[in-house]
C-alpha cells in the first residue's frame, strides 16, 4: 500500500496541511500535493473503474498522460467531470469522487463484464447489437448508456467565468522543462519577443527528479536561476499552469491557462484561452514513458517508473514498500536508485540479456538485486499488486518464480511528445535506437512563407540525454529568434556532462512469446480497456490500416488520446501484420493536446454576450407592451403584443382583426434598405433584379425579385426610384447584409468598371407601416404632406413631413390594406411611433407583430422568402412570371432558368390550399400521391409552405407547392399528419382575401 514518507518532497509544504474528500471520505494532504499524490499519501490506490470491464484501476502516471485517475470534482454549479487527479492541485475543501462505478468504487456490479471479457472482444458492439434491429433502441442502448461512459455531464449552469486573451509574439516556447527554459533564454537573449508556457505549476520538468547536473550545479538550482533570468528580461513573458493546446495554420496556437483551479476564487476567470500568433513555435514538450505489456499490468500499484520516482522525490509519497522495477533501458535504474534511497525494497528486472551501463552498475553497487533477461509473466493480486511472477523474457512465460511486491514500476522507454509538432501537418520519422517517432525537420509544418514555423527541441525532438537536450534547445531557440526577425546574439548554451547509457531493447510483448491467455490480460489502452489481443484480433479481421484499427478497437480514442498506448499499440499491430512499425504509421494527432474546458472555449461569449442582439429604435416600447419576441437574424422582432389575460394566439387574432377593420402599426425598421447609386446604377439594377428596374420612373415603387446565378429565388422587396441615378432597395429583414454583400461581390469581381456605389442604410431609418382602412385618416390628423389617393397613389412614394417628422412615405402594402410605410431618421423613430399611437387612439390603433403580418400576407397570397422559398425554388414555381422581364438580355439567374430541369412542366408550383374541414394544415406536411417510388417510399406530389389560422376567414388557410398545381384548381388531395392520418384539402387560388385589391387601392 502507498504511504507518505517521513522526509523529503520537493513540492509539498508539510507545515500547510490541506483537507479534502474522496467519495465523501475526509482525507488530508499538504500544500503542493496533487490530488493524486494526496490520495496515494493516504493509501488510496484504487481510484476508479475501467470503462468497459469495470476493472479496478489505480494511478499510473504523474502528469497529463494519466489514463485512470479521472475524477468528478466539485458539486452543483462548480461540478466538473473527467478531471485528472494527477493534474489537479490540492486545495482545502476539494471534493472529488471516482467515476464509472455502481453502486460503489469497492463493490461494482459492472465488474461482471470482466468475467465476461472473453465475450466482449474488439468490435463486440458492432457485431452483437446489430440484430434484432428493434432491440437497439429499446434494450441494448439504454443498458449500454447506463453502464458506459466516464463522468456525468454537469446539470447546472457553470458558476465560473472564463476569458480569451490574444497575444502576438515572435517566438512561442511550449514546455517549461530545461529544454523550454534554454530555448526561451536563447531566443530572449537574441532579442525576440518570447512567450514561454508550462502546463504544470513547476518549472524544470523531469531534470531535477532525474538528478541532472547543469552548468555544474544540480538541475533545480539551474532551473531557479534561469527562471529568474527570464523573469528579468523585458521581452520574455513566462506563464506556468498554461498548456499549449494546439498548433494551427500559419503560426496560430491555442494555450489553456488554469488560473484558479488550484485556489478557487470566483472573482477571477477560472480558465483563460490564449489565442497566439507566433512567428516561430518551439515545442519543448518533453517525452512520455511507455508502459510494458504484461498480464495484469493494469492492477492498482502498477505504475510508470518515472511516475514512481516523481511521487517519491516531489511529494514524498511511496507507492509501495516492495517495488519491482521492470525495464528495457537504463533509465529504469534511476527509479530503482530513488526508491532504494527512500528506504524501500526494490528488485530490478531488466528485459535485456545484460546491463552494464553506469546506472546499472550504480544500482548493483548500491546493493540492488538486478536480474537480467527477465520479464514479468503476470502480476497477481485482488484489486492490487500482491505478487509478481518473474520469467525469462525471451520465452513463453512458463515456470515463473514469484516475488512478493506491492508496486511495479514499468520502464518501457520514452516517446517524444510530438502532438504539437503534428497538429498542423508536421511529419515524423522512426528512430530505431529508442524505438520512437520523432519530428522529421525535413517535413515540418510550413507557414505562409513556405518555411517551417514549428521547431521541436529537447526530448520532444528525440534528444533524451541532458547535454543533448540543452544543446538542441539552445539551437532551436536561437534559430527561432533569428527566423522571426530578431537580430541579437544568444548567450552561451548551458552544459551538462554526457550521460553514457546502453541501448534500450524494444519490448512489445512481455514475455516475448506470451501465450494468448497472458496477452489477453495485457492492457495497451487503460482508459478504453483495449488489450494486446484486441489489436491482434483487429488485424486478423482485416483492419490493417492503423486508423481503422484505432476505430475498431477504440485504441487511443479515450480522453488521453493514446498518450501511453499509441506506440505500444502500433507495435503490436505491426507485429500482427508482420510489418515494420514505421510502415504501419501513426494515427492523426489532433488538438487539443489535453482536454480543455468548454468554458475556456466559449470565453466571455455566453448569456447576453453570446451574440449581439439588434434592436430597433422602438424596442423598449415593444418590450414594455407585452412583446412576445421572435429572433429574425440578429434582430428581435415582436411576434405579437400579448395583453394581460390574453394568450399569444388571442393576441395575434386581435391584431389581425384590428388592422383589417381599422388601424394597425408595424415596426418595419428591420427591413433592409440598400441605396444603389451611380451613373451605371440602372444597368446594375437590371442585372440584380429579374424585373426591369432601370425604367422605373422617379417617385414610383416596384416589387422586385432577386435570384442567384443558379436561378433560385434569393430575396424580394420593393424598389423605389429616388432620383435619376439612385434606387432604394428594400430587402427582407434577414437578407439585408447578405444582399448587400451579394451586390458588392458582383460589383467588385465581375463588373468592376461599372460606376455604382451601394450603401446599407438599414439602421439609419426607423420605418413604420401604418395599415388599415383608417391609415390615411391618422396621417391626415398628424398633418403635413398630402397623402391623398391623388397625391400619393398606390406604389408611389414621396418625401415630406408627417406632423413634425421629416419622412419618406411609401404607398406599398404587404397586407392588402390601405397602407403607408413611413421612414423617418432612426433617432426620431420612437417619437414618431409615440405620435402615431397618440393620434391613432381614436381609431383603436393596434400595434401588430410578425405573426399578424404573416397571416395577412398569406391571406393575400404574398410569398415569404424562407417559407415559399428554400433555395431550390425559382420565381416561375411561384407564379411570379409577371415579375421576370422578357425584354432584358441578361440578369442574374436568367441563363440558369433556361436549363431543362428549370423548365420542366412537372416542377411543383404554388397554389392555395383549403382544407375541407376548415382545419389548419400541419406545417411542412406533404401531399401524398399514388404508390411508392424506387426507394419504397410513398410518392409525394407537393408540400405545404405556409399555413395559418385566418382570423379574417375564421378557418385554416395555406399555400403550398403542388405538381401541376395551377392546372388542378378544385381538385382535392391528401396531406399527411404526423400521427399517420391524412387531411383532405382543395387546390384553390392562393389569394383568398380581396382578390381584386379593392381595399389597398383606395
Amino acid at each position: 500500500m502507498s504511504f507518505r514518507l517521513d522526509t523529503g518532497g520537493r513540492f509539498i509544504d508539510r507545515s500547510k496541511p490541506r483537507s479534502f474528500t474522496f467519495n465523501g471520505k475526509a482525507m488530508r494532504g499538504f500544500e503542493g500535493d496533487t490530488l493524486a499524490s494526496a490520495l496515494l499519501g493516504q493509501g488510496q490506490m484504487l481510484v476508479g473503474r475501467s470503462f468497459k470491464y469495470h476493472r479496478p484501476r489505480g494511478i499510473v502516471a504523474s502528469g497529463s498522460e494519466e489514463p485512470n485517475a479521472l475524477m468528478n470534482l466539485g458539486r452543483d454549479k462548480t461540478f466538473e467531470p473527467n478531471a485528472r487527479a494527477t493534474t489537479t492541485e490540492l486545495f482545502d475543501g476539494l471534493e472529488a469522487e471516482s467515476q464509472n462505478h455502481w453502486p460503489s468504487l469497492e463493490f461494482d456490479i459492472g465488474e461482471l463484464n470482466a468475467k465476461l471479457s472473453r465475450f466482449l472482444p474488439a468490435g463486440f458492439y458492432y457485431k452483437m447489437f446489430l440484430w434484432p434491429r428493434s432491440f437497439w433502441k429499446h434494450v441494448y442502448e439504454p443498458i449500454i448508456r447506463k453502464s458506459a461512459g466516464l463522468g456525468r455531464a454537469p446539470r447546472h449552469r457553470d458558476a465560473d467565468h472564463y476569458e480569451h486573451f490574444n497575444a502576438t509574439v515572435d517566438v512561442l516556447v511550449v514546455g517549461g522543462g530545461i529544454a523550454g527554459l534554454q530555448a526561451a533564454k536563447a531566443a530572449g537573449e537574441a532579442g525576440a519577443e518570447v512567450l514561454l508556457i508550462e502546463q504544470g505549476a513547476h518549472w524544470g520538468g523531469r531534470a531535477p527528479v532525474d538528478g541532472a547536473v547543469i552548468d555544474g550545479v544540480p538541475a533545480a538550482e539551474w532551473v531557479e536561476a534561469t527562471v529568474a533570468a527570464l523573469g528579468a528580461m523585458p521581452n520574455v513573458a513566462i506563464r506556468a499552469r498554461t498548456m499549449g493546446a494546439g498548433v494551427y495554420d500559419h503560426g496560430y496556437a491555442l494555450a489553456y491557462e488554469r488560473l484558479t483551479d488550484h485556489a478557487p476564487d470566483p472573482s477571477l476567470p477560472r480558465h483563460r484561452l490564449w489565442r497566439i500568433r507566433a512567428g516561430r513555435i518551439v515545442t519543448a514538450t518533453g517525452a512520455i514513458e511507455r508502459p510494458l505489456s504484461f498480464a495484469g499490468n493494469d492492477l492498482p500499484g502498477v505504475m510508470l517508473a518515472s511516475a514512481v520516482r516523481d511521487y517519491v522525490t516531489n511529494y514524498a509519497v511511496a507507492p509501495g514498500k516492495c517495488v519491482v522495477v521492470v525495464t528495457n533501458n537504463d533509465d529504469g535504474y534511476r527509479t530503482a536508485l530513488t526508491v532504494q534511497e527512500a528506504g524501500l525494497e526494490v528488485v530490478v528486472l531488466d528485459a535485456r540479456s545484460e546491463a552494464n551501463g553506469p546506472l546499472a552498475e550504480q544500482a548493483r553497487a548500491a546493493g540492488i538485486t538486478v536480474r537480467v533477461g527477465r520479464g514479468i509473466e503476470s502480476v497477481k493480486g485482488k484489486g492490487k499488486v500482491e505478487k509478481v511472477w518473474v520469467c525469462d523474457q525471451t520465452r513463453d512465460g512458463s515456470n515463473p518464480d514469484p516475488i512478493k511486491a506491492d508496486c511495479v514500476a514499468m520502464a518501457g522507454g520514452w516517446s517524444p511528445v510530438v502532438h504539437l509538432w503534428s497538429h498542423c501537418g508536421g511529419k515524423l520519422s522512426w528512430q530505431e535506437d529508442g524505438a520512437f517517432f520523432r519530428p522529421d525537420p525535413e517535413r515540418a509544418p510550413n507557414g505562409a512563407d513556405g518555411a517551417a514555423f514549428v521547431l521541436a527541441a529537447g526530448a520532444a525532438n528525440g534528444e533524451l540525454e541532458t547535454a543533448a537536450v540543452l544543446t538542441d534547445a539552445y539551437v532551436a531557440g536561437a534559430r527561432a529568434a533569428a527566423e522571426a526577425g530578431a537580430t541579437g546574439t544568444a548567450g552561451a548554451a548551458a552544459t551538462a556532462d554526457v550521460e553514457l547509457s546502453e541501448p534500450m531493447l524494444p519490448v512489445w510483448n512481455m514475455p516475448e512469446r506470451a501465450s494468448y491467455a497472458l496477452r489477453s490480460k495485457a492492457w495497451l489502452d487503460y482508459q478504453n480497456d483495449v488489450k494486446v489481443t484486441d489489436v491482434e484480433l483487429a488485424a486478423r479481421e482485416g483492419f490493417e490500416s492503423v486508423e481503422h484499427t484505432k476505430r475498431y478497437t477504440t485504441l487511443g480514442m479515450a480522453t488521453d488520446q493514446g498518450k501511453l498506448s499509441n506506440i505500444n499499440g502500433l507495435a503490436v499491430l505491426a507485429g500482427a501484420l508482420d510489418q515494420e512499425i514505421p510502415k504501419v504509421g501513426t494515427t492523426t494527432f489532433r488538438p487539443p493536446y489535453h482536454p480543455i474546458s468548454m468554458g475556456a472555449i466559449a470565453g466571455e461569449a455566453r448569456g447576453a454576450l453570446f451574440q449581439p442582439v439588434r434592436q430597433t429604435p422602438m424596442y423598449d416600447w415593444h418590450d414594455a407592451n407585452g412583446a412576445h419576441w421572435e429572433p429574425v437574424g440578429h434582430w428581435r422582432r415582436p411576434y405579437a403584443y400579448v395583453k394581460p389575460g390574453e394568450d399569444v394566439h388571442a393576441a395575434v387574432k386581435r391584431e389581425v382583426l384590428a388592422t383589417r377593420n381599422s388601424l394597425g402599426l408595424l415596426d418595419a425598421s428591420t427591413l433592409g434598405k440598400l441605396v444603389v447609386k451611380g451613373p451605371d446604377a440602372g444597368k446594375f439594377m437590371d442585372m440584380m433584379y429579374t424585373n426591369m428596374m432601370s425604367t422605373l420612373p422617379v417617385g414610383k415603387c416596384r416589387y422586385g425579385l432577386m435570384c442567384s446565378e443558379n436561378g433560385f429565388l434569393s430575396d424580394d422587396g420593393v424598389v423605389a426610384r429616388m432620383d435619376d441615378d439612385t434606387w432604394l432597395c428594400h430587402t427582407t429583414t434577414g437578407g439585408a447584409d447578405r444582399i448587400h454583400a451579394h451586390m458588392e461581390e458582383w460589383l467588385q469581381t465581375e463588373w468592376w468598371d461599372w460606376k455604382v456605389y451601394v450603401a446599407n442604410v438599414t439602421e439609419q431609418y426607423a420605418q413604420v407601416a401604418v395599415v388599415g382602412p383608417n391609415a390615411r385618416k391618422v396621417l391626415e390628423k398628424l398633418g403635413g404632406m398630402d397623402v391623398s389617393k391623388e397625391a400619393l397613389p398606390f406604389m408611389q412614394w414621396a418625401e415630406g413631413a408627417i406632423g413634425q417628422f421629416s419622412a419618406r412615405v411609401f404607398r406599398i402594402s404587404f397586407s392588402g390594406e390601405l397602407s403607408y410605410e413611413i421612414a423617418v431618421p432612426a433617432s426620431q423613430g420612437r417619437a414618431f411611433w409615440d405620435a402615431l399611437l397618440e393620434a391613432g387612439s381614436e381609431f383603436g390603433v393596434t400595434p401588430y407583430g410578425t405573426e399578424a403580418l404573416h397571416i395577412m400576407r398569406a391571406e393575400k397570397g404574398f410569398i415569404m422568402i424562407g417559407d415559399e422559398t428554400d433555395g431550390t425554388v425559382i420565381p416561375q414555381d411561384l407564379g411570379l412570371n409577371w415579375a421576370i422581364s422578357k425584354k432584358k438580355e441578361d440578369f442574374l439567374g436568367k441563363r440558369a432558368q433556361e436549363r431543362d430541369h428549370m423548365t420542366d412542366p412537372l416542377r411543383w408550383k404554388l397554389v392555395g390550399l383549403e382544407t375541407l374541414d376548415g382545419s389548419v394544415l400541419p406545417d411542412g406536411s406533404y401531399a401524398v400521391g399514388e404508390g411508392v417510388n424506387d426507394n419504397g417510399q410513398r410518392v409525394v406530389q407537393g408540400r405545404v409552405t405556409s399555413t395559418y389560422f385566418s382570423p379574417t376567414l375564421e378557418r385554416g388557410i395555406a399555400m403550398g407547392l403542388v405538381e401541376l398545381g395551377p392546372d388542378r384548381m378544385g381538385e382535392v388531395i391528401a396531406f399527411n399528419r404526423v400521427d399517420g392520418t391524412f387531411v383532405q384539402a382543395k387546390i384553390v387560388d392562393p389569394v383568398v382575401f380581396d382578390p381584386e385589391g379593392e381595399k389597398q387601392n383606395v
Binding site: 495554420d249 500559419h250 513556405g450 461581390e745
Partner: protein, 109 residues
C-alpha cells in the same frame, strides 16, 4: 488559421476577418451560352492539391474582394492581388514558379 495580406488596405488578416469565395478567375457565361459552357462556369471547379487561385473578401475590414495564390497542401501563400484582373499578374506567377517549378493550373503555368 490562415493569414492573408489584403492588397487593398495592407492588413495581414486573420482568417476570421475574411470570407472565402472559392475559385478565382471564373468566366461568366450568361444567356446565349451553351449548356456545357454554362455548367462548366456554374459547377465545375479545379480543387487541386497544390497551387490554387482563390477569391477572398476582407469582410470584417475594408470590405474588398481580392485574390490569393496559395498552395492547398502546404498552405504557403505566394501572393495576394487585386480581384479586378482576369488572370494572375506576372509577379505572382513568377513567385510561384520560384517555389514550385513546373506548376500548372488550368492552362496557366
Amino acid at each position: 488559421m490562415l493569414i492573408l495580406k489584403c492588397p487593398y488596405c495592407g492588413v495581414a488578416c486573420d482568417e476570421t476577418e475574411l470570407h472565402a469565395g472559392g475559385e478565382a478567375h471564373l468566366t461568366r457565361h450568361g444567356p446565349g451560352s451553351s449548356d456545357a459552357d454554362f455548367e462548366e462556369y456554374l459547377f465545375m471547379r479545379e480543387n487541386p492539391r497544390g497551387v490554387h487561385f482563390e477569391r477572398w473578401r476582407h469582410v470584417y475590414g475594408c470590405g474588398k474582394w481580392f485574390h490569393a495564390a496559395r498552395d492547398t497542401a502546404t498552405l504557403e501563400v505566394f501572393g495576394t492581388y487585386s480581384a479586378q484582373v482576369a488572370e494572375p499578374p506576372k509577379d505572382v506567377r513568377a513567385a510561384i514558379t520560384a517555389k514550385v517549378p513546373g506548376w500548372r493550373w488550368r492552362d496557366l503555368s
